[in-house]
Symmetry: C2
Subunit: 351 residues, 2 copies
């Protein structure tokens, strides 16, 4: 199969700009690797609320369900962030999309780039050679459990619930990845306090016997938050539940010193979505200064998912080439820098 | 009042050694500042389980309730950490003690020491001058909500619940502290996803009008986990719920590069407990290498609480004196170092 239906959700802020560069690159990939991408655009996030009142219109959901993969930009707008009373919010669209598409595994690879290491807030000797793959459960836990606020506003609760069925598939995914890598899997939880964490531990313990080559470690989330900064090189593959994954993966994103480079994939049984881990940066919108690399590397993850590994490899090399030659946006080099679209074109040309 | 009843719970691992140095120092304080400390010892943690089967024997709880303040070492033992099936665990004792004593506010001051700045994994220019005070809610939230694991082990849940009554007292405490400092309070939550977080936000928003001098900011916990490493100096006072506080405050403890220095206070209406933030480090037990400073600085926080501010000040100066003169344990200087008890005596002598 060399024909792919791609749903494109540019979203808010700098989303449209960075996704635009990914499209440019997919056009180059199509030409060189003799394949075909058909793009269908959908509204999503604040943009969608302004136009339709709904952060995830049915039309958008349909486009995504019909697609081979979803390319997503970013959502979020200060109008909603600063108003805790807002009933409809961009984030609801993203959470609903994850749930509806069954995107249970959020995968974030973290690497350092030799030429950018000095941009990190951490010291060179701490981070040099860091290579971590994080698996975060994405469609359950406290995000999707029952929520309640009493009408008088006197109390509220959120339920964190997990079933073994929700843990098993992502655990296998993480074990398989560890097998291909340094064979070390770290489960991050709070098993000294939470029942759900103990369920994660027991479930992973059982699965471990099917992967005798992989060493399974456990770390309490508070300790993990320290270890990630004290010694990130100790980690290979990390597995964790939804809320801990949200915190830990954002924390880990500071290691390389450049959040504008970090991609992610959210994978389900039948659908997959690819997005930069950075947000919508409304302040940078329309200025041509946004770094397109995170979106472009998310596109490389998409190419892997679509079983176009050569194209994915080529794209990663193109990005490395751009970075090593300092053909980068202002966030990575304040002296000599290029626009979002110049960087995108440079990478597309290399392909 | 110059007579104080102190409950002493040395606990596990290096707990007894570091608490021993705090007692030495309180003896010196008693002499110089003409006051009296009466010490009552209680069993707690793994030690208590081995001897009585209960991580918090009633006898210990009674001693604590009768005291003016509790001096606590550390708990935890690998025997329990490596066994997710253990029914009785040291941590249960600590959680029960917090609840029974109503210790709703865990307070952690974080500062960098000029002579130790290069020990941090973070770069000097990022951390120099960091001065943060963290207020973590300690007796509610997902730690103490309903928990359930179904008998077949197919699913489990933990409930995170908060009432406004649980939020208001610690919020006032944090606002008052901010008023005395740089007048900036940051509430860390996940209000874009959780009902309980929205309750925290609304409650703090209301209280804010009583502290017109204090600027109240909000930060989502994932973003906060990044900002703490990217730019810790932006923070003054941080306020957050129990689980986020556990993660965020341990993460923040890496900033100074020496977790062996960090104290904490847990405060309630009628009781208070003081403990180092480090754990029981079973590997170091009995070797005389543990750093007693975190326990000693916790003792300084206790002296403040007992309204002995001059003694507290003197003690802090003594600690600074020891650190600036490199009279420290091996964790802070691998070339020339002193034992736990030598450092304690040096500080006691200064007083
Ligand atoms: C926008 C928000 C709901 C989302 C999350 O918390 O999952 C984001 O932080 C992320 O990590 O993708
Ligand atoms: C031991 C554990 C239950 C405890 C907690 O999570 O509160 C500890 O990590 C702490 O921060 O004091």
């Amino acid at each position: 199969n060399s024909y792919f239906k791609i749903a494109v959700l540019p979203g808010d802020g700098i989303g449209p700009e960075v996704v635009g560069e990914s499209i440019k690159i997919l056009d180059a990939v199509a030409e060189v690797f003799k394949c075909n991408f058909q793009f269908s655009y959908g509204l999503m996030g604040a943009e969608a609320i302004f136009k339709t009142g709904d952060p995830l219109p049915d039309e958008t959901l349909k486009i995504c369900k019909d697609s081979d993969a979803v390319l997503f930009g970013a959502i979020g707008d200060p109008v909603f962030d600063n108003n805790p009373e807002a009933k409809v919010r961009p984030e609801q669209g993203l959470l609903k999309l994850r749930k509806e598409l069954g995107l249970y595994a959020n995968i974030r690879p973290l690497k350092t780039y030799a030429s950018l290491i000095d941009k990190s807030p951490l010291k060179r000797e701490i981070i040099e050679g860091t290579d971590i793959q994080i698996f975060r459960e994405l469609v359950s836990g406290i995000y999707f459990g029952e929520k309640f606020t009493d009408p008088d506003g006197k109390y509220a609760y959120d339920v964190c619930k997990y079933s073994t069925e929700e843990i098993i598939p992502i655990a296998h995914m993480a074990f398989r990845e560890a097998e291909k890598r340094k064979k070390k899997l770290t489960l991050i939880d709070k098993a000294n306090v939470l029942d759900t964490s103990r369920l994660w531990r027991k479930t992973c313990q059982k699965i471990a016997s099917q992967y005798p080559d992989v060493q399974l470690d456990y770390l309490f989330v508070d300790n993990a938050a320290m270890q990630l900064i004290l010694n990130p090189k100790q980690f290979d593959v990390i597995l964790t539940e939804n809320m801990f994954g949200d915190i830990i993966s954002d924390e880990a994103s500071v290691i390389g010193g450049s959040i504008g480079l970090l991609p992610s994939a959210s994978i389900g049984e039948e659908n997959a979505l690819f997005e930069p881990i950075h947000g919508s940066y409304p302040q940078a919108k329309g200025k041509g200064i946004a770094n397109p690399v995170a979106s472009i590397l998310s596109t490389a993850m998409m190419l892997d998912y679509l079983e176009l590994p050569e194209a994915a490899e080529k794209l990663r090399r193109a990005v490395e080439h751009a970075i090593e030659n300092r053909y980068v946006t202002v966030d990575l080099n304040s002296e000599q820098h290029y626009s979002t679209s110049e960087v995108g074109s440079f990478i597309a040309d290399y392909i």
